[in-house]
Symmetry: C2
Subunit: 145 residues, 2 copies
Protein backbone atom coordinates (compact mmCIF):
# COMPACT_ATOMS: atom_id res chain seq x y z
CA UNK A 1 0.00 0.00 0.00
CA UNK A 2 1.32 3.36 -1.10
CA UNK A 3 1.78 5.78 1.82
CA UNK A 4 -0.27 8.43 0.05
CA UNK A 5 -3.24 6.15 -0.56
CA UNK A 6 -2.94 5.15 3.10
CA UNK A 7 -3.17 8.84 4.04
CA UNK A 8 -6.30 9.17 1.87
CA UNK A 9 -7.80 6.09 3.57
CA UNK A 10 -6.98 7.59 6.98
CA UNK A 11 -8.93 10.69 5.92
CA UNK A 12 -11.85 8.53 4.79
CA UNK A 13 -11.88 6.72 8.15
CA UNK A 14 -11.81 10.04 9.98
CA UNK A 15 -14.88 11.06 7.99
CA UNK A 16 -16.63 7.83 8.93
CA UNK A 17 -15.87 8.36 12.63
CA UNK A 18 -17.39 11.84 12.35
CA UNK A 19 -20.60 10.32 10.97
CA UNK A 20 -19.85 11.40 7.43
CA UNK A 21 -19.31 9.93 3.97
CA UNK A 22 -16.07 7.88 4.11
CA UNK A 23 -14.13 9.27 1.16
CA UNK A 24 -10.70 10.81 1.61
CA UNK A 25 -8.10 12.46 -0.57
CA UNK A 26 -4.62 13.92 -0.48
CA UNK A 27 -2.95 16.27 -2.93
CA UNK A 28 0.75 15.50 -3.30
CA UNK A 29 3.41 17.80 -4.73
CA UNK A 30 6.87 16.41 -5.39
CA UNK A 31 6.45 13.67 -2.81
CA UNK A 32 4.93 15.86 -0.10
CA UNK A 33 1.27 16.15 0.95
CA UNK A 34 0.20 19.77 0.45
CA UNK A 35 -3.53 19.26 1.01
CA UNK A 36 -5.62 16.59 2.71
CA UNK A 37 -9.33 16.26 3.24
CA UNK A 38 -12.41 14.14 3.41
CA UNK A 39 -16.04 14.44 2.44
CA UNK A 40 -17.73 16.91 4.79
CA UNK A 41 -21.32 16.87 3.57
CA UNK A 42 -22.60 15.89 7.01
CA UNK A 43 -19.98 17.69 9.11
CA UNK A 44 -20.17 21.06 7.29
CA UNK A 45 -23.58 20.77 5.65
CA UNK A 46 -21.85 21.45 2.34
CA UNK A 47 -22.63 19.75 -0.97
CA UNK A 48 -19.34 20.91 -2.51
CA UNK A 49 -16.97 19.40 0.08
CA UNK A 50 -16.31 16.04 -1.49
CA UNK A 51 -12.99 14.53 -0.39
CA UNK A 52 -11.01 15.80 -3.38
CA UNK A 53 -12.53 19.29 -3.13
CA UNK A 54 -11.67 19.40 0.58
CA UNK A 55 -8.05 18.48 -0.25
CA UNK A 56 -7.89 21.26 -2.87
CA UNK A 57 -9.33 23.72 -0.34
CA UNK A 58 -6.84 22.59 2.31
CA UNK A 59 -3.93 23.16 -0.09
CA UNK A 60 -5.13 26.73 -0.58
CA UNK A 61 -4.17 28.92 -3.52
CA UNK A 62 -1.47 27.30 -5.63
CA UNK A 63 0.02 28.42 -8.92
CA UNK A 64 -0.50 26.35 -12.07
CA UNK A 65 3.22 25.50 -11.92
CA UNK A 66 2.60 23.55 -8.69
CA UNK A 67 -0.63 21.88 -9.78
CA UNK A 68 1.00 20.54 -12.93
CA UNK A 69 3.52 18.65 -10.77
CA UNK A 70 0.89 17.17 -8.43
CA UNK A 71 -0.68 13.77 -7.98
CA UNK A 72 -4.10 13.54 -6.33
CA UNK A 73 -5.00 10.40 -4.41
CA UNK A 74 -8.64 9.65 -3.71
CA UNK A 75 -10.23 6.59 -2.14
CA UNK A 76 -13.12 6.62 -4.66
CA UNK A 77 -13.42 7.31 -8.38
CA UNK A 78 -13.88 11.10 -8.70
CA UNK A 79 -17.36 12.34 -9.64
CA UNK A 80 -17.86 14.90 -12.41
CA UNK A 81 -17.50 17.85 -9.97
CA UNK A 82 -14.18 16.61 -8.57
CA UNK A 83 -12.97 15.54 -12.01
CA UNK A 84 -13.83 19.03 -13.23
CA UNK A 85 -11.66 20.54 -10.49
CA UNK A 86 -8.81 18.16 -11.37
CA UNK A 87 -9.15 19.16 -15.03
CA UNK A 88 -9.44 22.90 -14.27
CA UNK A 89 -6.23 22.93 -12.29
CA UNK A 90 -4.37 20.65 -14.67
CA UNK A 91 -3.49 17.88 -12.22
CA UNK A 92 -1.75 15.36 -14.51
CA UNK A 93 -2.12 12.19 -12.42
CA UNK A 94 -4.93 10.72 -10.33
CA UNK A 95 -4.62 7.58 -8.19
CA UNK A 96 -8.04 6.10 -7.41
CA UNK A 97 -8.64 3.66 -4.55
CA UNK A 98 -11.50 1.90 -6.28
CA UNK A 99 -14.25 2.37 -8.86
CA UNK A 100 -16.33 -0.72 -8.13
CA UNK A 101 -18.89 0.96 -5.87
CA UNK A 102 -19.06 4.15 -7.95
CA UNK A 103 -17.69 4.98 -11.39
CA UNK A 104 -16.85 8.65 -11.71
CA UNK A 105 -15.77 10.68 -14.73
CA UNK A 106 -12.56 8.72 -15.32
CA UNK A 107 -13.03 8.51 -19.08
CA UNK A 108 -13.44 12.27 -19.26
CA UNK A 109 -10.21 12.73 -17.31
CA UNK A 110 -8.36 10.32 -19.59
CA UNK A 111 -9.74 12.13 -22.63
CA UNK A 112 -8.32 15.35 -21.14
CA UNK A 113 -4.88 13.72 -20.96
CA UNK A 114 -4.91 12.89 -17.24
CA UNK A 115 -3.27 9.64 -16.14
CA UNK A 116 -5.81 7.71 -14.07
CA UNK A 117 -4.64 4.68 -12.07
CA UNK A 118 -7.19 2.50 -10.29
CA UNK A 119 -5.95 0.29 -7.43
CA UNK A 120 -9.17 -1.63 -6.58
CA UNK A 121 -7.96 -1.55 -3.00
CA UNK A 122 -9.92 -3.94 -0.71
CA UNK A 123 -10.02 -1.45 2.20
CA UNK A 124 -11.47 1.29 -0.01
CA UNK A 125 -14.06 -1.12 -1.44
CA UNK A 126 -15.02 -2.35 2.03
CA UNK A 127 -15.38 1.21 3.40
CA UNK A 128 -17.82 2.22 0.65
CA UNK A 129 -19.71 -1.08 0.47
CA UNK A 130 -20.47 -0.96 4.20
CA UNK A 131 -21.32 2.74 4.09
CA UNK A 132 -23.70 2.47 1.11
CA UNK A 133 -25.40 -0.47 2.80
CA UNK A 134 -25.72 1.40 6.11
CA UNK A 135 -26.74 4.84 4.84
CA UNK A 136 -28.03 4.59 1.28
CA UNK A 137 -30.05 7.84 1.48
CA UNK A 138 -26.92 9.82 2.47
CA UNK A 139 -24.92 8.22 -0.29
CA UNK A 140 -27.49 8.95 -2.98
CA UNK A 141 -27.77 12.54 -1.76
CA UNK A 142 -24.00 12.83 -2.13
CA UNK A 143 -24.06 11.80 -5.78
CA UNK A 144 -27.16 13.82 -6.60
CA UNK A 145 -29.55 10.92 -6.96
CA UNK B 1 -32.63 42.47 -17.02
CA UNK B 2 -33.91 39.46 -15.17
CA UNK B 3 -34.04 39.98 -11.38
CA UNK B 4 -32.06 36.81 -10.81
CA UNK B 5 -29.23 37.81 -13.14
CA UNK B 6 -29.26 41.18 -11.38
CA UNK B 7 -28.83 39.36 -8.06
CA UNK B 8 -25.87 37.44 -9.53
CA UNK B 9 -24.36 40.71 -10.78
CA UNK B 10 -24.84 42.23 -7.30
CA UNK B 11 -22.87 39.27 -5.91
CA UNK B 12 -20.11 39.82 -8.51
CA UNK B 13 -19.90 43.49 -7.56
CA UNK B 14 -19.69 42.59 -3.89
CA UNK B 15 -16.75 40.33 -4.73
CA UNK B 16 -15.06 43.15 -6.63
CA UNK B 17 -15.48 45.52 -3.66
CA UNK B 18 -13.86 42.91 -1.44
CA UNK B 19 -10.82 42.80 -3.75
CA UNK B 20 -11.85 39.50 -5.28
CA UNK B 21 -12.71 37.98 -8.64
CA UNK B 22 -16.00 39.59 -9.78
CA UNK B 23 -18.13 36.56 -10.59
CA UNK B 24 -21.45 35.97 -8.88
CA UNK B 25 -24.16 33.35 -8.93
CA UNK B 26 -27.57 32.55 -7.50
CA UNK B 27 -29.35 29.20 -7.29
CA UNK B 28 -33.10 29.59 -7.79
CA UNK B 29 -35.78 27.08 -6.85
CA UNK B 30 -39.33 27.67 -8.02
CA UNK B 31 -38.80 31.41 -8.33
CA UNK B 32 -36.98 31.85 -5.02
CA UNK B 33 -33.24 32.29 -4.41
CA UNK B 34 -32.08 29.42 -2.18
CA UNK B 35 -28.34 30.06 -2.49
CA UNK B 36 -26.21 33.02 -3.47
CA UNK B 37 -22.50 33.52 -3.67
CA UNK B 38 -19.48 34.97 -5.37
CA UNK B 39 -15.94 33.92 -6.11
CA UNK B 40 -13.97 33.90 -2.84
CA UNK B 41 -10.49 32.90 -3.99
CA UNK B 42 -8.97 36.03 -2.50
CA UNK B 43 -11.34 36.46 0.45
CA UNK B 44 -11.18 32.84 1.69
CA UNK B 45 -7.94 31.71 0.09
CA UNK B 46 -9.90 28.88 -1.50
CA UNK B 47 -9.47 27.58 -5.06
CA UNK B 48 -12.84 25.77 -4.96
CA UNK B 49 -15.03 28.77 -4.13
CA UNK B 50 -15.94 29.93 -7.60
CA UNK B 51 -19.21 31.88 -7.70
CA UNK B 52 -21.39 28.91 -8.61
CA UNK B 53 -19.73 26.67 -5.99
CA UNK B 54 -20.27 29.34 -3.35
CA UNK B 55 -23.97 29.50 -4.28
CA UNK B 56 -24.24 25.69 -3.99
CA UNK B 57 -22.52 25.83 -0.60
CA UNK B 58 -24.81 28.63 0.56
CA UNK B 59 -27.90 26.59 -0.40
CA UNK B 60 -26.61 23.75 1.79
CA UNK B 61 -27.72 20.15 1.49
CA UNK B 62 -30.65 19.80 -0.89
CA UNK B 63 -32.37 16.68 -2.16
CA UNK B 64 -32.20 15.76 -5.84
CA UNK B 65 -35.91 16.58 -6.07
CA UNK B 66 -35.10 20.24 -5.37
CA UNK B 67 -32.03 20.46 -7.60
CA UNK B 68 -33.97 19.13 -10.58
CA UNK B 69 -36.37 22.09 -10.30
CA UNK B 70 -33.60 24.70 -10.02
CA UNK B 71 -32.12 27.28 -12.35
CA UNK B 72 -28.59 28.52 -11.69
CA UNK B 73 -27.64 32.02 -12.77
CA UNK B 74 -23.99 32.91 -13.15
CA UNK B 75 -22.38 36.09 -14.46
CA UNK B 76 -19.72 34.11 -16.38
CA UNK B 77 -19.70 30.90 -18.41
CA UNK B 78 -19.15 28.07 -15.88
CA UNK B 79 -15.70 26.42 -15.90
CA UNK B 80 -15.33 22.63 -15.92
CA UNK B 81 -15.39 22.44 -12.09
CA UNK B 82 -18.63 24.43 -11.77
CA UNK B 83 -20.16 22.67 -14.79
CA UNK B 84 -19.28 19.38 -13.12
CA UNK B 85 -21.16 20.44 -9.98
CA UNK B 86 -24.15 21.51 -12.09
CA UNK B 87 -24.09 18.14 -13.84
CA UNK B 88 -23.59 16.16 -10.62
CA UNK B 89 -26.63 17.70 -8.98
CA UNK B 90 -28.76 17.58 -12.11
CA UNK B 91 -29.53 21.29 -12.41
CA UNK B 92 -31.53 21.37 -15.66
CA UNK B 93 -31.11 25.04 -16.62
CA UNK B 94 -28.19 27.47 -16.51
CA UNK B 95 -28.44 31.17 -17.35
CA UNK B 96 -25.02 32.63 -18.20
CA UNK B 97 -24.28 36.37 -18.11
CA UNK B 98 -21.63 36.18 -20.80
CA UNK B 99 -19.10 33.87 -22.43
CA UNK B 100 -17.07 36.43 -24.39
CA UNK B 101 -14.28 36.86 -21.85
CA UNK B 102 -14.15 33.15 -20.92
CA UNK B 103 -15.79 30.11 -22.51
CA UNK B 104 -16.54 27.42 -19.96
CA UNK B 105 -17.78 23.87 -20.41
CA UNK B 106 -21.10 24.88 -21.99
CA UNK B 107 -20.94 22.25 -24.71
CA UNK B 108 -20.40 19.54 -22.11
CA UNK B 109 -23.44 20.78 -20.19
CA UNK B 110 -25.57 20.81 -23.33
CA UNK B 111 -24.38 17.29 -24.17
CA UNK B 112 -25.56 16.26 -20.68
CA UNK B 113 -29.03 17.64 -21.47
CA UNK B 114 -28.71 20.92 -19.57
CA UNK B 115 -30.38 23.99 -21.08
CA UNK B 116 -27.74 26.74 -21.31
CA UNK B 117 -28.84 30.29 -22.10
CA UNK B 118 -26.24 32.99 -22.71
CA UNK B 119 -27.32 36.62 -22.30
CA UNK B 120 -24.11 38.43 -23.41
CA UNK B 121 -25.01 41.05 -20.83
CA UNK B 122 -22.97 44.28 -21.20
CA UNK B 123 -22.54 44.74 -17.42
CA UNK B 124 -21.16 41.20 -17.03
CA UNK B 125 -18.79 41.69 -19.97
CA UNK B 126 -17.59 45.04 -18.61
CA UNK B 127 -16.99 43.62 -15.11
CA UNK B 128 -14.75 40.83 -16.42
CA UNK B 129 -13.00 42.86 -19.11
CA UNK B 130 -11.94 45.49 -16.60
CA UNK B 131 -10.96 42.87 -14.02
CA UNK B 132 -8.85 40.78 -16.42
CA UNK B 133 -7.13 43.95 -17.57
CA UNK B 134 -6.47 45.11 -13.99
CA UNK B 135 -5.42 41.80 -12.42
CA UNK B 136 -4.44 39.31 -15.10
CA UNK B 137 -2.32 37.17 -12.75
CA UNK B 138 -5.27 36.69 -10.37
CA UNK B 139 -7.56 35.81 -13.25
CA UNK B 140 -5.18 33.24 -14.73
CA UNK B 141 -4.68 31.70 -11.30
CA UNK B 142 -8.46 31.36 -11.01
CA UNK B 143 -8.73 29.38 -14.24
CA UNK B 144 -5.64 27.28 -13.55
CA UNK B 145 -3.37 28.91 -16.15
Amino acid sequence: MDNFMQAAIDEAKKGLEEGGVPIGSVLVHQGKIIGRGHNRRVQSGSPILHGEMDAFADAGRQPASVYKECVIYTTLSPCCMCSGAIELYGIPHVVVGENQTFMGAEERLRAAGVKVEVLQDPTCIELMTTFINDKPELWFEDIGE
